[in-house]
């Protein structure tokens, strides 16, 4: 996987993005939000940032067993 599709900027090389974390189940305790991770063989729900592009944060769905990107969306409203 060397490209992610940033909804704002388009398909860009992976090197422009930084992964931050996989997400725990929503709505957990603050502790769970910070420390727990949900690992599944075929689905990883993640936060990435397009650091060398629009700097928007992305919600990325990927298959960690194949590297396929299943979907990318902007978390915020996108850059102003």
């Amino acid at each position: 996987m060397t490209r992610l599709v940033c909804p704002f900027c388009g398909a860009r090389e992976l090197g422009e993005f930084e992964f931050r974390k996989t997400l725990p189940e929503p709505g957990g305790t603050p502790f769970a939000q910070v420390y727990e991770r949900i690992e599944r063989p075929a689905l990883s729900v993640e936060h990435w940032q397009h650091v060398e592009g629009c700097r928007g944060w992305l919600l990325v769905h990927r298959n960690p067993s194949t590297g396929d990107v299943l979907g990318t969306e902007l978390l915020g409203g996108g850059p102003l």
Binding site: G15, F19, K21, E25, F31, Y35, R37, E39, S44, R62
Partner: protein, 458 residues
């Protein structure tokens, strides 16, 4: 003298090496006398095999049949699983132990690392543990009667600016107080110890010196898996390959066994030592773990005559990292940062390979003309403070040995011994008491790098 008999003779071994309490790890230890599996390996055995011809050697571990029930089922025939099984059988006399492996003995990280062993950790909880491991490495070949090629050639963490000295000194001083060897090398000292590095060469980040642990070095990675497998097998441990655990069955609030691709196996206790798949085990048991799975790459050049006589660790600004050593076969072996996002693919990203090579060439420009022959990747179970977890998981009789981050390979001997004690006695030995899962909730974090709950440093 050729011995026959289908099942290797089970020699009677001395019970248990004495565990080093973390407070006083450096007292003289009684060395385990292990007579080893059959046939015993030695220079003579090579000669005998030469004379005897075919049939002298026997399978190291294979040929066992999966039984219905075990006292302990260890999941994962990597370094940690095999070492745990070995110590369960050897030190605790647990008679019915199985190691169930999805694929092959030693197929995971134990055979995919850069072979470095060291105990130069900052935090006492870590350096006492890894020191115990390093001491076991020293005698492991003889303990297992299998040459794992422990090569104490030194590990040097390089200092690139005056700002690096306090952190290196803090770590080295903590080690020295614990009785672990550590030296600070200034530029002249580094030049003497690693002349091939030419510390005075002009570089983007000048090399000023480093923190040296002379007893750190390398170990032949595959040999560790095979040596433990052979020794465990000699103690009667059943090592079953191509047997994937798909679930845990419970009864009356405790685990009763494991579901596998070869059917149900009853188990008194279950140990998960599944490295990069530990996060999935947490999900399978409904207990999310503070673990993310990341790829870590390594690569090797063609073999050449001896060039580099130690292990160099080069961490530089701008996400740069390269650790470099030369294998006994002669290839320059390198590794660096994580790939940077969760993956089970074991196929590393190309730009990371380039970055590691950049770091290695920066240290040793003379190797620029060598060729990379192959690159590989392991799936690393990265915890949210960078230190491992050896603890019960959800059920009283289910244990997890996971979260080894970058340290899994070097930890194997200590981890196997301590984990076996925990499983056999129900009580964690002092050496791993800090590795409990609850530490994240209580705040007793073991964060060597101060990186916080993110395996990938920003």
């Amino acid at each position: 003298m050729r011995r026959h008999g289908r099942v290797p003779a089970r020699a009677v071994y001395a019970r248990a090496c004495d565990e080093s309490p973390p407070n006083e790890p450096l007292t003289a230890r009684r060395r385990c006398r292990v007579s080893g599996p059959d046939p015993r390996y030695s220079a003579w055995s090579l000669l005998r095999a030469r004379i005897a011809g075919d049939g002298y050697w026997r399978p190291l571990w294979s040929g066992r049949v999966l039984a219905d029930a075990y006292d302990v089922v260890v999941v994962g025939a990597g370094g940690h699983g095999l070492a745990t099984a070995y110590h369960l059988a050897r030190d605790h006399g647990v008679r019915r132990v199985a190691v169930l492996e999805k694929r092959l003995v030693g197929y995971g990280n134990v055979g995919r690392n850069t072979t470095i062993v060291r105990s130069n950790y900052l935090l006492p909880e870590n350096h006492y543990f890894y020191e115990d491991s390093l001491r076991r490495w020293q005698s492991l070949s003889r303990d297992l009667n299998y040459n794992v090629m422990y090569s104490p050639r030194g590990v040097v963490d390089l200092a690139l600016s005056d700002d690096d000295w306090p952190a290196l000194a803090r770590r080295g001083n903590a080690m020295r107080l614990a009785g672990i060897d550590a030296e600070l090398l200034d530029r002249a000292g580094l030049e003497r110890f690693v002349p091939e590095l030419a510390p005075r060469r002009a570089r983007r980040f000048p090399v000023l010196g480093g923190l040296l642990q002379r007893r750190g070095g390398t170990v032949r990675h595959d040999a560790v898996a095979w040596g433990y497998a052979r020794a465990a097998s000699a103690f009667g441990v059943d090592i079953i390959e191509d047997c994937e655990v798909t679930g845990v069955a419970t009864a009356a609030g405790i685990a009763s066994g494991v579901e596998t691709t070869r059917g149900f196996v009853r188990a008194g206790r279950i140990v998960f030592a599944t490295a990069g798949h530990s996060g999935l085990i947490g999900t399978m048991l409904g207990t999310p773990l503070p673990i993310e799975t990341h790829l870590l790459q390594a690569m090797v050049t063609e073999p050449i005559k001896p060039l580099l006589h130690t292990v160099l660790v080069h961490v530089f600004p701008g996400h740069g990292e390269a650790y470099v050593c030369q294998s006994d076969r002669g290839g320059i072996v390198m590794g660096g940062h994580l790939d940077g996002f969760p993956s089970y693919t074991r196929e590393g990203r190309w730009d990371r390979l380039e970055e590691v090579v950049q770091g290695a060439v920066d240290l040793l420009p003379q190797i620029a003309g060598l060729r990379i022959l192959r690159q590989w990747a392991g799936t690393n179970d990265m915890t949210m403070d960078g230190s491992p977890i050896i603890d019960r998981l959800r059920y009283d009789n289910v244990f997890i040995n996971a979260g080894w981050c970058y340290g899994g390979f070097k930890a194997i001997p200590a981890s196997g011994s301590a984990c076996a004690t925990l499983v056999a006695t129900g009580t964690a030995p002092d050496l791993i008491r800090a590795y409990r899962l609850s530490r994240f909730a209580t705040g007793h974090l073991l964060d060597e790098r101060g990186g916080g709950p993110f395996p990938v440093r920003l």
